[in-house]
């Protein structure tokens, strides 16, 4: 295996748009990649540190709005706007995370309190009409600009977005993999294993829980900005509970590890309704069964079929 550097395995994905001239399939993949960023970053908190955060959709949505608003009101470019959004989300996460972890909220309590915070965020965005246009949402006409051979060009069209999203996803997986496969990832693992033990082993549980929460939400913010500007529309639905649950489902379905596992979940949940034309009732049924069977039959997700044993480090 030494012969081949693993990163090379991404290469086929770069070839897809060249061989596959299918708008719909590419669109599904673009959404998959962006939601993949969301799921992978969520999994850092959930799969590796063992904290069931319900704040992920909020980070995703807040960033989508913040990116647009900073572009609209500060006149900055998409990329700067995104950085501002990420910073904002991280700042909010510091507050939320500090409250949750200082008070040692665990498991379900953590889930509920983070859920509460994301609901509050949703309600604020929904009702702060003058700023967010409330429930009508906002159409985003601006496009991210990129320096490419040929100067500064706007990212538009499915193919350009495909490559942007793919690179963003690889970046995210790379960063998460680096964190997970390092001493920091081992600290996360220790906390997931048993935070009292981690504590007696000299690991500052509060600090590392917070770090994973911040890094994860920063990933969500990254995804949120891309998603909103690919769809060219942002609405309060981004922060809905359904969205949070969908993210959890992606992580579980894909597999909590290895790092890229959740991408499979994102792929299946994004593509399924479009691949098979179920009637609405059947589709809901299938979705429910997927969740149930994943837990009862595929506890390690789709990846569990491929990887032999659980690799936590």
């Amino acid at each position: 295996m030494r012969a081949m550097r693993p990163e090379w395995l991404w290469l086929p994905l770069f070839a897809v748009p060249l061989v596959l001239h299918n708008e719909v399939a590419l669109t599904v993949l673009v959404f998959t990649f962006i939601l993949g960023i969301l799921a992978v970053s969520f999994n850092l908190i959930f799969g590796y540190t063992g904290q069931l955060s319900m704040f992920h959709a909020a980070a995703f949505g807040i960033s989508a709005y913040a990116t647009h608003l900073s572009m609209a009101h500060l006149g900055v470019s998409f990329w700067i706007g995104m950085v501002i959004a990420v910073v904002l989300v991280v700042a909010i996460s510091v507050v939320v995370g500090t409250i949750c972890f200082r008070f040692r909220l665990k498991e379900f309590y953590f889930a509920i309190v983070t859920l509460a915070f994301s609901e509050m965020a949703r309600l604020v965005i929904l009702n702060w009409g003058s700023f967010t246009n409330g429930s009508l949402g906002i159409n985003l006409t601006a496009k991210p600009m990129l320096w490419l051979p040929g100067g500064l060009v706007p990212v538009q069209g499915t193919r350009m977005w495909y490559y942007l999203a793919l690179v963003a996803l690889i970046l995210t997986v790379f960063v998460c993999a680096r964190v997970v496969h390092s001493w920091m990832g081992r600290s996360f693992a220790a906390i997931r294993l048993n935070d009292e033990l981690a504590d007696t082993l000299g690991i500052n549980v509060f600090r590392y829980k917070l770090i994973s929460f911040l890094v994860g939400n920063a990933g969500a913010a990254f995804a949120g900005a891309l998603y909103a500007f690919y769809l060219s529309y942002v609405e309060p639905g981004y922060l809905s509970i359904e969205q949070s649950l969908a993210i959890v489902a992606m992580a579980l379905l894909g597999g909590r590890e290895p790092v890229a596992g959740p991408i499979l979940g994102a792929l299946v949940l994004t593509a399924l309704p479009h691949v098979i034309n179920f009637s609405a009732e059947v589709r809901i049924l299938v979705y429910g069964l997927i969740l149930i069977l994943t837990i009862l039959v595929l506890p390690r997700g789709i990846m569990g079929l491929v990887t032999k044993r659980r690799h936590v480090l």
């Binding site: 509460a116 509050m120 579980l252 059947v282 809901i284 429910g288 969740l291 837990i295």
Partner: protein
């Protein structure tokens, strides 16, 4: 103004009992099986739809339809426990996801049978009781009394009967309880089914007050969970009080603050309680 406040105080208490009955189910299930059954909202919907169908569809008299609806719900609860929850005991996340999956399954079945158009049961007991300082719809009053009675008798049963004490003991110290001869399997199944029955009752009564649509349970399970945590998971009377606190917070909140934020008032309160008193209002150490 004072009259308005007093009126909403009472109104909040009444609405709170509906949260309370769900909270009770949440708290019992969590205490005994270590999972949070989010599908209780779906079971509430089952109770509501079956109750509605029995009365308006089959013309069974409502007072008879309610227990029947509860029975049907409990039966489905038993089915769910044996086929699903049995495998997720004491695994919080798995239990959570499975119950969420179950919600979709239930919703899809309801859609297949009764479509998405909202259902409205004929008025069982129309009209209001007008004490000039407080107006309460008669049916709402009845629902309140029934739910109150059920919650109180559940409390009595848990504290006075052997099975109840066994359940309590188990919630405190499973191993010890097992040594005392508590039959874990049976107890856990019993509690899961009972909590679904409670949800079913809540639903069947709900049907007489509000119109039904498939996702009706989702807001109530959230409120139920909030109430349960508010009170401190594991406390029976607490779940009632928790529900009432939540109901009152919302009712009074909607008076002085925009109704649009109603759902947030309870949440803010919940977070504060959790931070100031992690074990909840009534819980011991967590």
């Amino acid at each position: 103004m004072l009259q308005l406040v007093v009126g909403q105080l009472l109104n909040g208490i009444i609405i709170g009992t509906l949260y309370g009955i769900v909270a009770l189910g949440v708290t019992l299930t969590f205490g005994i099986t270590g999972i949070v059954n989010f599908a209780l909202g779906a079971f509430m919907a089952i109770g509501a739809y079956v109750g509605w169908y029995l009365t308006d569809g089959l013309g069974i008299t409502y007072p008879l339809a309610v227990p029947l609806a509860v029975a049907v719900t409990a039966l489905i609860g038993l089915l769910a426990d044996q086929s699903l929850f049995r495998f997720t005991r004491n695994n919080l996340i798995n239990g959570l996801i499975v119950s969420i999956g179950l919600i979709s399954v239930v919703q899809s079945v309801i859609l297949m049978i009764w479509t998405t158009t909202p259902k409205n049961m004929h008025y069982v007991l129309p009209g209001v009781l007008n004490l000039d300082w407080f107006i309460v719809p008669k049916m709402k009053g009845v629902v309140f009394l029934v739910l109150l009675a059920v919650i109180l008798s559940t409390y009595a049963a848990l504290t006075r009967t052997w099975a109840g004490r066994a359940a309590y003991a188990f919630a405190q110290a499973p191993e010890a309880a097992m040594l005392m001869g508590v039959r874990t399997r049976l107890l856990q199944t019993g509690v899961v089914v009972y909590s679904t029955a409670l949800a079913g009752l809540g639903g069947a009564l709900y049907a007489s007050l509000y119109s039904l649509e498939v996702s009706m349970g989702s807001s109530y399970i959230l409120k139920g969970v909030e109430a349960a945590i508010l009170a401190g998971i594991g406390s029976v009377m607490g779940s009632l009080v928790g529900g009432i606190v939540l109901g009152v917070t919302e009712a009074i909140g909607s008076l002085f603050l925009p109704q649009a934020y109603r759902d947030a008032y309870g949440l803010v309160f919940l977070v504060l309680i959790l931070l100031l008193r992690p074990a909840g209002l009534f819980g011991g150490g967590r």
